[in-house]
């Protein structure tokens, strides 16, 4: 590169130092800067910041609501745990327990315990062949009143 041209170029570029907006601009710059800083403080927040603030207020600025959320969550968890736990033997008085043969046998035994049973005479001589025969109390066992041999 030609050193003379280089020097001339530097002189030309140095002319740009004289480009200036003028004294009034710099005289008011400090006041403008303070105004800029104050305006920046009052600047409305972005949509995202606004949304985040609203959400935070909604969740944490109301203690009762917060408690309601946590207690609801705890209830749901508790119900889920109870519902998923393995089933145990139903109690005797359980109404909703499904019927089983064990229950029928037990109930029958209980009912029969209170029924008075007359002794049955096995002697053929004591038997009135015209009268019906009963097994338990007055319940008819058979209706044939004659014996056909």
């Amino acid at each position: 590169m030609n050193s003379k041209q280089e020097l001339k170029l530097q002189q030309l570029l140095r002319l740009k130092r004289h480009e200036s907006p003028g004294k009034p601009y710099f005289d008011h710059f400090l006041a403008e800067f303070h105004r800029y800083q104050r305006a920046d403080l009052l600047e409305s927040p972005s949509k995202w910041q606004e949304w985040k603030t609203n959400l935070t207020n909604f969740l944490f600025a109301r203690p009762v609501r917060t408690f309601a959320y946590s207690s609801s969550f705890a209830t749901v968890v508790l119900l889920a745990v109870v519902g998923l736990s393995p089933s145990t033997a139903p109690s005797d008085k359980s109404v909703s327990a499904p019927p089983s043969s064990y229950h029928y046998a037990e109930a029958t035994e209980e009912a029969l315990r209170h029924v008075e049973i007359n002794p049955i005479s096995l002697s053929a001589f004591d038997r009135d062949f015209n009268a019906p025969r009963f097994v338990t109390g007055e319940r008819t066992l058979a209706y044939e009143n004659t014996v056909a041999f």
């Binding site: 170029l9 030309l12 740009k16 480009e19 200036s20 800067f33």
Partner: protein, 201 residues
């Protein structure tokens, strides 16, 4: 307290680092002295990179604001003015990168028109001869046009070295690259400018 009305001699004697320390300790007016000290030089750096007064004003405000907010993070291993210049240059480069696409869509005529709006910034107070004045305006326009044709990084180096008169070492700190890179960019930019300004050299 208006620092501009204060005894300027007192504020001029105080080193930058001392003003920074005072500001960090709560004397916010100390930062006003730093603004008064650097506003014109920083304006020159940004304006010569953007060639637009409105952009320069916005970027200058942003740069000082950012410096003020990050003053506590300023490390004394660097000079305050290189730190401040670095903030301003980085913000300017960021803006220019964002606008690169838009600028590329502008025709040269539109760019010239853009630059001609900034003619009012010219402070050729000594110029009285109308013919000479017209020549200088033409030269200024051509100079701005040539600078705008350089890449942002090359323009930054030219502005800091040729217009602001900073050293290679300071420029390497401000632009965060080695001195060798600074010299290389400067050499390439000068060659480009010589080609563009061939009629004026």
């Amino acid at each position: 307290m208006d620092p501009e009305k204060e005894d300027s001699r007192e504020s001029e004697l105080v080193p930058d680092e001392e003003l920074v320390r005072r500001c960090v300790e709560g004397e916010v007016a100390a930062f006003d002295h730093l603004i008064l000290r650097y506003k014109e030089r920083l304006y020159g750096v940004i304006y010569n990179m953007t060639s637009n007064h409105e952009d320069t004003n916005d970027l200058l405000m942003e740069a000082f604001d950012r410096a003020y907010r990050n003053l506590a993070g300023y490390k004394k291993d660097a000079l305050f003015y290189t730190w401040l210049y670095r903030i301003a240059v980085n913000r300017t480069l960021n803006l220019l990168e964002k606008r690169k696409k838009f600028r590329n869509n502008l025709s040269l005529n539109e760019m010239d028109l853009d630059l001609s709006k900034e003619q009012g910034l010219l402070d050729w107070s000594q110029v009285t001869d109308p013919e000479r004045s017209a020549q200088l305006k033409d030269l200024q326009s051509k100079l701005n046009d040539s600078l705008q044709r350089l890449s942002n990084e090359h323009r930054a180096v030219v502005v800091l070295f040729d217009i602001e008169g900073l050293s290679h070492a300071d420029i390497s700190k401000i632009t965060n690259c080695s001195e060798g890179t600074v010299r290389s960019r400067l050499h390439y930019a000068h060659k480009q400018l010589q080609k563009m300004l061939v009629g004026y050299l």
